[in-house]
Point group: C2
Chain length 304, copies 2
């Protein structure tokens, strides 16, 4: 039983008799032997690992994308390593560097918070796929995002179809995704009114009858603030959010929201990462959002 035989058997290489394979597996089991991963990686030059960089763990949007990535990675025999930079730019860069130094075969950045330079630098060192909407994506990197313009259109068209004419847009931080939604909103509404934060909107007292929030958290905040002021939703105010997270189902009235196919986005991102590792090139993908109607915009809507 040579060293090479054991190595081949343990890695499941062809050309090892069933008898040896079994004997070796049994012995390894008995001895608790496991190949040293660092030595394997050192010699093979590949890690079998893909690094996932997250902005924010505590957000279902990110989580479901990660699940999609993990499913696809597992199927391809890859391990997934998660790292998260909260919303701190320098922390995010630090974690990105950490993943690259670790030697992952590819990085999937699930964030819109990295600037062009940082992405450029990362893409030069490792196959890179971005999920989300940063300022720009370097050539040669993969990219998956939803069609924000279309999502905004769905939201606004829904409110217009309900007879609302004075519709506001509420955003938090102004990032590319939010900006795209706002631009689409502007092009569809006669007198666009934008507010930064739920409080600003409600304090304005402008008599607007509907609001499109750029994410569910803001949407939920609007519902809470409206309730605190004794406003009835959707009668006094109709609200539409974005992301269709669990939150949209837990609040009352439940929140009408634009859905992104998160699992599919993760799976596609992993497929692009594999393509980059293999052929060196990857496609970009823009997925279509859909609208999920609930009680925050239509009284008779199902509770979900």
């Amino acid at each position: 039983m040579s060293k090479s035989l054991v190595s081949a058997a343990l890695r499941g290489e062809a050309g090892v008799s069933a008898a040896s394979r079994e004997r070796i597996a049994a012995a390894a089991d008995r001895l608790g032997y496991r190949a040293n991963g660092w030595a394997q990686r050192l010699v093979s030059g590949r890690s079998g690992l893909v690094g996932v960089l997250l902005t924010d763990l505590h957000n279902e949007y990110h989580t479901d994308i990660v699940n999609g990535i993990e499913d696809a990675a597992h199927e391809a025999g890859f391990g997934v390593i998660l790292s998260h930079g909260r919303r701190d730019r320098s922390l995010l860069l630090d974690r990105l560097q950490g993943l690259i130094d670790l030697g992952v075969d590819a990085v999937i950045a699930v964030t819109g918070h990295l600037d062009a330079d940082a992405l450029e630098a990362a893409a030069a060192r490792v196959p890179l796929v971005v999920v989300g909407r940063p300022e720009s994506v370097p050539d040669g990197a993969g990219w998956v995002r939803n069609n924000d313009e279309e999502g905004a259109r769905l939201a606004v068209a829904h409110l217009l179809s309900l007879g609302h004419e004075r519709i506001a847009f509420v955003h938090g931080s102004v990032r590319p995704a939010s900006r795209a939604r706002r631009d689409a909103y502007r092009s569809l509404v006669m007198e666009p009114r934008e507010f930064s934060g739920a409080a600003a909107f409600l304090a304005s007292g402008t008599g607007l009858t509907a609001v499109f929030a750029t994410n569910d958290r803001l949407g939920a905040q609007l519902l809470a603030d409206a309730a605190d002021r004794g406003m009835r939703v959707p009668d006094d105010l109709a609200v539409v959010g974005y992301d269709n997270t669990e939150l949209s189902r837990l609040v009352r009235p439940a929140l009408t929201s634009v859905d992104q196919p998160r699992g599919a986005m993760g799976t596609a991102a992993m497929a692009q990462a594999l393509a980059l590792v293999g052929s060196g090139s990857a496609e970009h993908l823009i997925v279509a959002p859909t609208l999920v109607v609930r009680g925050s915009s239509v009284r008779a809507a199902p509770l979900d």
Copy 2:
């Protein structure tokens, strides 16, 4: 400029002149050189990495603990690798094995979902710290959890002090933490009534006036279901949750909830992991929960 000098300089070892250090750093920068981490780990036998095993990403409870771990790890010069097994037992075991195979210096399992055997096997292979409440924790492993009995006592005492006499307990899956809360609840209430799930409670129509939910998600679900049935909270029904997550602040009325010092728990877990790596032994830590009163139990409570 020998290989050894470069190695020492790059690792910031003492005994390298400032001049060499600078020249070497500059050259490395120019060439884009970075030491191969696998080779370093292979030869040093240490990874500088701690693996964190999560049950569920999309839960603020877990997220804040991770933040605490990361802060402490960063301070100690350690990197953090996250891995998550959703709520699937075999997936969780798989990920745990993956972390160990990767060669992390310690594993922090932020979950109560691993059974005694799995924990025992893991602890035999790597310094292990558990955050949460599994069935049992192996000797030699670190452990951090909150005092569930005390948390339940805070919740029930609060409701009793408001004059409620018929208080229900609602749980989801029955795990040790939930069981401990239930046992404490039982010992404090005259006629304990337990329900599995929010729907079961509300369908019962028993005229109970208050409910203690074993987590915020269930609490939020109870609020939603109560609203759907036209019940007024807290007048018709008072609700208390557990975990004091963002959800408790976003729903209306806002949810009274038991808080665990999550960040501190993460920090303590990392400290235990370092102690295990160093001296080989670690303490157990049980932290005290506190009660955060909001509108779901007291009408006049601040909105938060």
